[in-house]
Structures are given as structure tokens and as C-alpha cells.
Symmetry: C3
Subunit: 338 residues, 3 copies
């Protein structure tokens, strides 16, 4: 047997959401870090080269279900929700790579460049506190993409990091206006110099323009500075969406993390709004505390509150709220990594 | 990599069922012990505390398919049967725990208290011989529940064991009469003193009353006594079901296990009947022999026969039998644990 | 924990297909060897006996999805395609075995005897180069079967190898004309003497005759001779299909493999045609090169071209071609085993 690493995170939280229409209490999965189960391995090929693979499945710990993937980065690639019958898929990541001192060639399913707005959010886009730049954005279905060919820069460039990725919709060439649907790509470039980190990401995925679909072009710029016991970070994102009634979404967040003994206090302000009719916008305050019981295990609590305007109805933790109403939520959970 | 334990059971049996309408021959999965694949681990946190996780999937060895879970402990949480397209889910168990000398806090999907009627059945509710108190009961969909918060007593209480569990249906608070559907909980308390074991379990899950749904309240009391080469055990179960035409189900079993060298002979009488119109009832005789080839591997054979009355049509191993007719079945299989 | 072996292959390729109607570019999975993830183990029972299990799932590395199985070896056993929601199943193999010097008894899901036409194809029935005897055959849904009971000859018979298998459709005995649908079995017998290998396989699966279904009877004969640096191999297959308009399919391939340093050059001619109306037939030329970077990792490229006649429309790599038109395709990929 070769050296396969089995890894994962199991994270469950009691979640409460309050909205103007309905509240909800639920046991949720991954409110601090997404629950997952994975298999990965690296083989040294000699001469500075290596081959590797990575298979990572979402696991909903509250039910034991898996999560779906997409065959083609298009709505047709993921049929209707399967609820409790959804089995495990390696939708989080499923890749094979060849790596040398020149970088890594990676084939399979992985983050698209649209997703790199999760980096400068101390909640990592998880749980009630997740940045509104993530939750409110039109990139939900393409944060991860199938049929991707990516090149990642090597790690020996003096702090410079980055990638170029291209993903395929795999349509037949006679598909007419939709033949490029689901095709896309992106570029990410950053610099990590000691306490300072900054990066810029540009991504685009194509869809023939309809009432609900259209090219999505995303730009994300973010930075972080690590002081001795606290960090500050922020990002700005813009999504141009070429539906029949084209609109642009803009948002950002600014956040701080304080390390206090075995604990970590997090605070973030985030907002996201679009130029669609009535200009819906949501502003969010997120507060969190994580208490590390070990390197692998923590208990945590989070609180967040959103304020909607322009007709937005964003609600937290499964609650339902009316247009322009507020919603708040609390998470209380355990996260265990292995 | 951390210490993850990969475990499982693969159990396949040739099964034959005979009924008054139709017979059937099939290769079945888990006729001695349910086929499964799991991942679990424990981390010592110091100070008598530990964190742990447990992911356990059903595997149908005859086809390679998985088994479904439920998102909400309600019929809506498990869409239509997927047959050969049903993927693996961790529907048997999917939990994260914190344990100390005061007990264990466990979050996720696990047995509900309704399920503890499997303990005093030497067939472990598996295969053709499974106790009728299990097969005939209206608790099928809630033997395991999602969104559970459970507290398990510690193991240092002089043989006293038990748990309290609460499970959530996760409905919005404006769902009207059905807002508590799928909510429930239970208490289990037992005492294991040397050769003697006795326990009492009480469970309840709520559903707004309709023709097919209604609150289910289950009571199970059971006991076992281990003599040197044989054990006797028995249990009594009662299920109160508040559908529009409310009814009560009552059943029980008494069983013995004889250990003969590397073998084990099992015999059980069980029955279950309800107060629904015509008072359907089924009585069952189960006989089994398990021959252990090692601690991990066994071959086995079982025979069972049911007698229906009051319009009941229970049939064994996929056979079909008419109202008030008998049915019988045989299993012949291999069970291998790893 | 016992000794479980975790194993797999992750194989991804950029694939291009060209046809008279449409071309397609895609990232494909398993173009050199099918991508998979598996768990297997063997327990020594003493006295020359052992118990073992094998669970092997298909993984589509391009999307992370799994592949479906069938519950009953009939069309009803695999509902409609789930696309990106298809979870992992152990549809490639899911078995438990008892083995002694007399052979192996294996229960579960595994190859049917219909599938042994993959042996004498240097492309292993994978990717654009796969033999037309496989791609064109009516055995697609029963190359692997559920509910199988198989006996495999032991490995100590002086080069003679073989198996007998029986698979069950598991229909109720009152299912009338279709009560044997999905039942079947087969025999395989071969001899491997030094550089020479030859085998004969006979398989049959029953279906009540309709416009699209009917008994399928397959015969495969193949042989290989390994010279020092190259091998030649070939096979002939015949499939008799008793649909309402019964027809017979016949095909074969002849192939050579040249080992050149760390590389392997493959060339094959294959064809398959049937006696159905207009006598559709497809002829195929396949060329491939595999460059081994290690025992576990390779990069590869393949090219193939098909020529259709009699109304056949076989097209490669997702392209679409008109009746009696040609199609060609190229694969360029990475294969990594663990």
C-alpha cells in the first residue's frame, strides 16, 4: 500500500436564526470550518518532480449526507436537490497533479478563481458570520468548477504566489449560442512578505445571456497584516453579471482577529449590493469567539446581524425575513479535525 | 496524519423467501450484521477530556449502493428511492463528541431512542430472523435521526448506563401545525451488573396528526442474563401512534443463545400487533446458527417463519404473502469484519 | 484496527473529439485507466483458508461525482441519470470472499462473464482508443452485475485459470414472463503458460423479449503472446441478442504493444457490427503512447479514428457524427495510482 493520507473535519453547531417572518433552530454542519472527508497523497518522482492526488468530499455531519457536484458548470449539470438521498461526491476537490520546480499542473475539480473571496474573511465563509461578499454574490454555483486545467506558481518565488485556471463547459460545438456556457477561467496573483499579504484575482465564466444567466466577471482584491497578537484584513469584490438586465454587484469586508491565550476573538463588517432594480443591499456585523481545546479541536460561538435595503431579504441560519427587514443568528458548536 | 480508524463489516447472504403469493431468491446484504464502512477517531485533550468523531455508512454489498439519510426526520427529508443510483451517506452515524468524566456530548446523526429495541434480539434486527418488534414497528423512519443533540452517561457509574437525546425537525417557526414535525427526544437508562443487564427506554417524535402521520411514543423494556454457555433475553415494546385513527402497537420477544465451541445457536419467539382496525398481528419463530471461522469472520444460516392474523401480510426475504397467510425464509451467508 | 488497504487510481485527460455534426473538448476521467477509490483486506483464517473483502468505487475525477450501480441487473434497477448529484457507490466491485486451496467463493457485485472482452485490449477498454468490441456491444449494462455468486479456480493449477458465476435478477416468482429478467451466468476458462495466454468465455443474461430487451448470449475468445519487448494480442466476440427483432453482433480486435525504455507504444485495429437492419458496423484504428514517470504515475496520449457504415453513428470523445460518417479523437492525460 502506498502512503495515502486520510483527513477531514467534523464540525457541528446548534444554530438559531431570527427573522421578521420566521425563526428557525437547527443543528448545522461546518459553522466554523466545512465538514469534510478526504484522501490525498504525494509521490516523489525524483529530479524535483512529484505526482499527487486529492479527493475531498463534503459531509453534512447533522444528517450524514454528502453534497452534489456539477458535471458542466451549468445549471443542467446539477439536477434537483436530493435531500437525504444525496450521496458523497468529491465535489470540494478531485484532482491529479504533476509538480516540479516550475510549478504545478492540476487537472480536475477545484476552486474557480471566482472563489478566492474567502481568503480575507476570518470566518472563512462558514457559519452565521460568513462575509456578505460571499453569501450575497452571484457566483455560488461556480465557486468550485469541474473540468478544470490549472497552473499554480511554485512556492520558491520570494513570496509571490498565484495561478491561472481554465474550466470547460464541455458543450458540443453545434450548441449554438450556448456552446460556450460554463467555459471560463481566471488569474490570481499575490505577494506574501512576512506579516503582509496582498492579492488580486480576476475570473470570468461565460453563459449566453438570458433572464437568469449571463457572463459573470469577478474581481477580488484583498490584503492582511499580522501584528503580534492581532491581524487586520479586508477585501473588495466586484461581480459584473451580463443577464438580459445586466447588473453589477459590489461588496467588501474589513475584519480583525485578536488571539487571547487559547482563544481567538473575531469581528467583521461586510456588505454587498447590486445595481439591479431597487439596488438591493445587505450590511452585516459578525462577531465570533473560538476556544481551542487542542490544535485539532475547538468550541466556538458566533453572532451576526444583517440589515437589508432595496428589497433585499437576506436572512440568517434558516430564518425568513421580509424585504428590508433585519435578521440575526447565533452558532454554538464543536469543530474537530483529523 | 492523525489516527483514523477505518472499519467495516461486509456481510452477504443467499436468501430465499416463500409466501402464499410469490417466492423470491436474492443475494442480500447484512443478514447477520449490517454491511458498513466507517471512519472514526479519538483525540486525547488532556485533563480526562477527549474529542472524537464517527462516520459510518451503510453499504449494500450485493449491489455496492449506499443507503439514504433524512435531512429533517420527516417524510419530506428523504425523496423517492434512488435504487442503484443511491450513493454512500453516513446515515448510520455521523457525529462529533466531547467526552469527560461527566459524560459525552454528541452532536449529529445517530440512533434515536426509538431504536433501542434492537439490543435484546440475538439476531440484532438483521436478516430473516430479526425480531418482529423491530420489523413490524411504525418507527422505521426514525430509528436513526438527524440533527440530534445527545448526552450519554459516563462509563464509571457502577454499571449504570444511559442517555438523553433530542432531535430537531428544523422547521421554520411559521410552519403552523407542522412546525414541530420531526422534533423529538428520548431517555434511556440501564444497569449492567455482571451477568445481568436491564434497561428502559422512552422515546417520542412529533408529527401533526394526519391519516398517515402522528406523534409516535415508544416504550421499550428489556433484560438479559448470561449463564456460562447460554444467555436468555427478552423485551417488551409499546408504540403509541397518534394518526387521525390513533392506534397502539405492542410486541415482545424472548430468546436464547447457546455457545457450542466455535458456534452459536440462536432461537427466538417474537410478535407484534396493533390496535388498528382488524387488529393485525404477526408471530414469528427464528432459528439461527453462526459458525465463527475467526474473531472477524463467520458463516451462518438462519430460518424463520411468520404467521399473520388480523389482515397482516408480513412476508420474509422479499416473498409476498396474502392476508393472514404464513411466510418463511432462509439465509445462508458470510460475515467479515475489518 | 485491522489491515485495510486503501487504493485507487486518479486519471484525468484533456479530450478532443471531432465528428461530422459537432466537435467537443472536455476534461475526461480514466482515459488510460478508470479512476477509482477502493478499500480491500484479507484475513488469514489458518489451514490455508482466508477471508477477504473488496469495495471499489468509480470516481469521475473531472467532476468528483461517483457512478451508479444496478439493484437488479435490469433497466429498472438504475433510475435516471443523476449528473452532478450522483454519489459514490461501490459499483465497480463490492464483494466478500472465502478462499482455500480449492478456490474462491465470492459473493456480491463484480464483473459478469460478459465483460471479459477487456482483457485483450491494450487500451483496457479505456479512453478514446478502447476496442470497438467493447464500446459497440449490447452488454454495457451488464458488464458488471449485482447479486452475483461466483466460484474462481485456485491459482495452483499449472497456469489454468477460470471462474463460474451466477447472477440474480431477484424478481418475485409471480412476475410472469419477466420473472427471470436479470438472471444470468457464465463460465470462463483460460491457460497462461509463460509468454502465451488464451481464454474462452461464455455468458448469458435473460430478459423477456421486447423491442429493446431480450436474452443476451456472449462468447469471447482471446489470446496474447509476449515477446521480449513487444506483445501481440487479439480477440473475437459474438453477442446474440433475442429482442423481438433478434440480431447478432460480431467483432474483434488485433493489437500490438511495444515497450521502448520507460515508454509503451500501442496500436490496435478493432471492429464491431451487427445483423440488425442495414447491418451497422464500425471500424476503428487506435494508437497510443504511455510514458511511465514511475511505477505508479504516467503521462499518455492516444489517437483514434472510427469509420461507420450501415447507418452506424459511433463518435469519439463526445463528438457527434452523422450516419456512415467518420469521427476521430485525441486524449492527453495523467494517470496516478496509489
Amino acid at each position: 500500500q502506498s502512503s495515502v493520507t486520510l483527513f477531514g473535519i467534523i464540525d457541528a453547531a446548534l444554530q438559531r436564526g431570527s427573522g421578521s417572518v420566521a425563526d428557525r433552530t437547527q443543528l448545522g454542519s461546518g459553522a466554523n470550518s466545512s465538514s469534510r472527508l478526504g484522501f490525498r497523497g504525494v509521490e516523489d518522482l525524483g529530479g524535483g518532480m512529484s505526482a499527487s492526488f486529492w479527493l475531498e468530499a463534503a459531509v453534512l455531519v447533522d444528517t450524514g449526507a454528502g453534497g452534489p457536484t456539477s458535471t458542466n458548470n451549468q445549471p443542467s449539470g446539477t439536477p434537483a436537490t436530493l435531500g437525504g438521498t444525496q450521496g458523497l461526491t468529491f465535489a470540494r476537490r478531485s484532482t491529479v497533479s504533476l509538480t516540479s520546480s516550475l510549478g504545478e499542473l492540476r487537472l480536475g475539480r477545484d476552486y474557480s478563481a471566482h472563489y478566492y473571496r474567502y481568503i480575507y474573511d476570518p470566518f472563512g465563509n462558514n457559519g452565521v458570520g460568513a462575509s456578505q461578499t460571499f453569501l450575497g454574490a452571484p457566483t455560488t454555483g461556480i465557486n468550485r468548477v469541474s473540468n478544470q486545467i490549472a497552473y499554480h506558481l511554485p512556492s520558491n518565488l520570494g513570496g509571490i504566489y498565484g495561478l491561472v485556471e481554465y474550466h470547460l463547459g464541455e458543450n458540443a460545438s453545434n450548441a449554438g449560442a450556448t456552446k460556450n456556457d460554463g467555459n471560463g477561467g481566471g488569474v490570481r496573483l499575490g505577494w506574501n512578505g512576512g506579516p503582509f499579504d496582498v492579492s488580486l484575482t480576476q475570473a470570468r465564466t461565460s453563459y449566453a445571456s438570458t433572464a437568469t444567466l449571463g457572463d459573470i466577471t469577478s474581481t477580488t482584491i484583498g490584503a492582511r497584516y499580522d501584528f503580534s497578537v492581532f491581524s487586520v484584513m479586508g477585501q473588495y469584490v466586484r461581480d459584473k453579471v451580463d443577464t438580459a438586465a445586466a447588473f453589477t454587484g459590489r461588496g467588501g469586508n474589513i475584519a480583525g482577529v485578536w488571539r487571547v491565550g487559547a482563544g481567538e476573538v473575531k469581528a467583521m463588517w461586510s456588505q454587498y449590493g447590486t445595481t439591479a432594480a431597487a439596488q438591493p443591499e445587505t450590511k452585516k456585523l459578525s462577531l465570533g469567539y473560538v476556544h481551542n481545546l487542542s490544535k485539532r479541536t475547538a468550541i466556538y460561538g458566533s453572532y451576526a446581524r444583517v440589515r437589508n435595503s432595496g428589497g433585499a431579504t437576506v436572512a440568517l441560519n434558516g430564518s425568513i425575513t421580509g424585504a428590508n427587514q433585519s435578521s440575526s443568528g447565533v452558532d454554538l458548536g464543536i469543530r474537530h479535525a483529523f
